[in-house]
Symmetry: C2
DNA sequence: CTGTATCCGATCTGATACTG
DNA sequence: CAGTATCAGATCGGATACAG
């Protein structure tokens, strides 16, 4: 999902919030999934790969780096051998969870009303 | 924003909801913006182009078609000459708005704490 | 274990031009 | 006005190989 982030070349009048910028933090493949998994507690890198099967190491790594830079997750290196790393949601990160829930609720409702992803794909194919 | 939609090849045990599928409806550039603008009432095609400046006609058209297929917006052709078309949110579509608000609220908070998009970009550039 | 570096194909978007 | 067709460039994610 590409949430397009508009380059603010022209100084726009203070729009509501430049929506797209405000949502950039869930952009990128699997970003929402990471937050979703982390809601249940801390996870290690390899555990995340198991929880989100089709994600490649590269993308997961990229996403975790971004989410950390955005202040949504924390990265903690455990002094073990071999090294292990634990990720968990920050306080702000946890605030995203309810919003995600709301989105999923709507998605579920759409699905039950004949607007599931497959249904939509069929319609668009016509 | 690319919300990756996983192909459900392997019959996964009934996961929470296949998160990604449930969020597909806001995927695609400008999709959230369209919903955001439409919250204030119906808009015509050309009006949307004005409200969301950098969007091209092609993408806007594509997005509107998708959102309609997903049951999020309604398309109404007005019997005028030249023809004009009105778009507005469906009842279900309106339910997305609060979720978007919640997301934006978090985004705004992150911004005020030094995690704006530009700050993040700077961190990642290092 | 936890990543990073490359290469590469798939996908998407914007610009332009054109139709009803 | 309201799109659609086509093309080119940019971006992104996956696979593989490799490093600390």
């Amino acid at each position: 999902m590409v949430l397009k982030v508009r380059k603010n070349k022209s100084p726009q009048p203070p729009k509501p919030c430049a929506l797209t910028h405000c949502m950039a933090f869930i952009s990128g493949a699997w970003a929402p999934n990471v937050i979703w998994v982390l809601r249940e507690g801390p996870r290690r890198f390899s555990e995340l790969r198991i929880d989100i099967p089709p994600v490649s190491a590269k993308v997961l790594s990229t996403r975790l780096t971004e989410l950390e830079a955005r202040g949504i997750i924390e990265r903690k290196v455990l002094p073990t051998s071999p090294p292990s790393v634990e990720y968990n949601l920050t306080e702000i990160g946890k605030e995203i969870v309810p919003a995600l829930d709301a989105l999923v609720a709507v998605g579920h409702k759409l699905k039950t009303q004949g607007h599931g992803v497959d249904d939509v794909a069929a319609k668009l194919a016509k």
